[in-house]
């Protein structure tokens, strides 16, 4: 399993009922279901990834998360995971809102576009950045809404959510140390958050 997925898996409480948005071939759900006592449900629009999940026996619905999550009732999951998918959605704020409607805990991970290496590429070369985690060029990428750590934390606050845990990741997808921990927006390659709803705030 990808290193960043292993970190996300560690953030999911054992035995949870988990909804994985953009679950890909189901690697995270398979780990959670087989080894961590979880119940899992995936959402995946890509045909090939959908078939990969079905063949593994992982429940998956082929839906567009930009349309919200109408298949799923309020509070019907313990945890919703959005791993490396937020930046590819058309309506990230809506997706975040829908996540926190169907579960109490949200886990979001994404590539940090505030990383100095990416910033410097644009500054010095005058071209949209490409890196190990951002492998596709601007005209190939599905990432239409890239954001930095600061950007995302602003959105979290604006949505009235609390980030109770933040894990900064290095370019290998594993936990970062050193500068990345002290100055995550500048040196963190990617990041994963554990989100909760603010107690008392009404969501719809």
């Amino acid at each position: 399993m990808r290193l960043d997925l292993a970190i996300v898996a560690d953030m999911v409480p054992r035995g949870s009922r988990v909804l994985d948005l953009g679950c890909g071939d189901g690697a995270l759900l398979e780990e959670l279901i087989r080894n961590r006592g979880c119940e899992g449900q995936g959402v995946e629009l890509s045909t090939e990834a959908f078939h990969a999940c079905v063949a593994k026996g992982i429940p998956v619905v082929a839906e567009d998360i930009d349309e919200g999550l109408p298949d799923f009732a309020d509070g019907s999951f313990d945890v919703v995971v959005l791993s490396q998918t937020l930046q590819a959605t058309h309506r990230p704020a809506l997706v975040l809102r829908e996540m926190m409607r169907v579960a109490d805990i949200g886990i979001v991970s994404f590539v940090n576009y505030g990383h100095l290496g990416l910033r410097l590429q644009l500054l010095l070369r005058g071209r949209m950045p490409v890196s190990a985690l951002v492998a596709e060029r601007w005209f190939e990428t599905a990432n239409i809404h890239p954001c930095s750590i600061l950007d995302f934390e602003s959105l979290v606050r604006a949505e009235g959510l609390i980030a109770s845990e933040r894990v900064v990741l290095g370019s290998d997808g594993g936990p970062a140390g050193g500068w990345a921990v002290r100055l995550p927006n500048a040196f963190g390659a990617a990041v994963a958050y554990l989100l909760h709803r603010t107690p008392g705030r009404v969501h719809r």
Binding site: G15, H51, V54, A55, G57, P59, V61
Partner: protein, 409 residues
């Protein structure tokens, strides 16, 4: 449900639509025959949901493939409104295979090298299973409208009796499209220990007002036919053919998509390019519908049509979630729900409703809307993405991730 085959019988414009054996997609189960068994007797009659009883009940069924040693590989096929037990293989003429032959056979989605497949004609049908055209042992005459009203649940009760008769305690899967999918949904909800997998294709948990309206007009056409005689047409030696043909023609419109009809017929005329300006059949689409109506008369009974459409109207397993909820909570069946984007008889919102309720009750469910131009009929046709989805689902590993019933919560 032979209409899929008839699509190509009457119109030679079905390049992607085939219903016969596909050498590249597996073979045929070959020569098969329908078997008959008498289930239930006076002492132990079939008790319908209404409380009425029936005995005996003859059931026509076919089986394909081999039952394995631990009797764990049975797949039950639930047919739709006008189907029959002859789902796969042929009865002597390989050119006239069963209604789901593209789906069932060696190497096909329902792989008979791996599964033991059972398909039975529905209670109330007219293809060998007891129905309104059968002789009532009490009177020695056909039941007609004295046949008791039955529900989708009653159809499942007869399926279960057949499965028990075959010595099978638990099914690997039940599969059905349209009314067949409704039976599968009921089966999985009411008897959670019966099924490991449930495949529900272009079905519904409840007919909409529009669906019921179409059913109502179809029944009116039959019942207003002067040859209907209150359902006693058999005794009199009459047949409400005009009404039944109209019912079938109208229903058939709902099985096709607007786009499909436009592509297949457009406004083309039956003969030449000059309209004849009369009331005889002139447009190709008219000729097609007439053909469908005529073919249907040869094989279907008007009273069966009334009873089965009525059973569909009343089906509403989610109607009382206070009752159904606890059933759903303890389901360990895995569901696959499939819809087709051009189906307007039971459009995707019907399938989404099923997914929504199942997921809300923590039932593992996979769902996909498949792109196909062929409307409701798509479930009978070779739509590669659809066949692949069902095949993957049925071949899921036995030790695949299951629903955690214990857990550490």
């Amino acid at each position: 449900m032979r209409h899929a085959r008839s699509v190509c019988e009457s119109v030679s414009m079905c390049p992607t639509v085939t219903n016969g054996p596909h050498p590249e997609q597996g073979g045929s189960v070959g020569l098969v025959s329908t078997q008959y068994v008498e289930l239930f007797d006076r002492a132990n009659p079939l008790v319908l949901e209404s409380g009425a009883t029936l005995a005996p009940v003859e059931v026509a069924y076919e089986t394909y493939g081999q039952l394995n040693a631990d009797r764990s590989n049975t797949v039950f096929i639930c047919h739709a409104l006008t189907g029959d037990a002859h789902a796969a293989g042929h009865h002597g003429d390989p050119a006239r295979p069963g209604w789901w032959d593209n789906f069932i056979g060696p190497g096909k989605p329902v792989d008979t090298d791996r599964f033991f497949v059972v398909c039975a004609n529905l209670l109330g049908g007219c293809m060998g299973t007891t129905g309104p055209s059968s002789v009532d042992p009490a009177t020695g005459e056909p039941y007609g409208l004295r046949f008791p009203l039955f529900t989708v649940g009653d159809l499942v009760s007869v399926h279960r009796a057949l499965v028990r008769h075959l010595g099978i305690a638990r099914l690997r899967a039940a599969i059905g499209g349209s009314l067949g999918g409704m039976q599968v949904l009921h089966w999985a909800m009411e008897y959670p220990d019966d099924l490991a997998l449930a495949v529900i294709v272009c079905a519904t948990s409840r007919l909409s007002a529009q669906n019921i309206a179409f059913s109502a007009v179809a029944r009116e056409a039959i019942m207003r036919d002067p040859n209907f005689h209150g359902g006693d047409y058999q005794r009199i030696g009459a047949r409400p053919d005009a009404g039944l043909a109209v019912a079938r023609m109208m229903a058939h419109i709902t099985y096709l998509s607007e786009e499909g009809m436009r592509n297949k017929f457009g406004r083309r005329l039956q003969n030449g390019t000059t309209p004849r300006f009369g009331f005889d059949v002139d447009f190709q689409v008219e000729s097609y519908l007439h053909h469908q109506g005529e073919v249907f008369l040869r094989r279907f009974d008007a009273n069966s049509y009334l009873y089965l459409t009525r059973a569909m109207d009343y089906f509403d397993p989610f109607g009382d979630l206070l009752h159904a909820g606890p059933h759903l909570e303890r389901l360990e069946t895995f569901f696959l729900v499939v819809s087709f984007d051009s189906d307007w008889r039971f459009d995707t919102s019907h399938s989404r409703e099923i997914v929504h309720v199942l997921a809300a009750h923590r039932v593992p469910v996979s769902f996909r809307e498949i792109a196909s131009p062929h409307g409701h009929d798509s479930f009978l046709l070779v739509v590669p993405d659809y066949h692949r989805t069902v095949a993957s689902f049925l071949h899921r590993p036995d030790d695949g991730p299951g629903r955690q019933t214990g857990g550490e919560r």
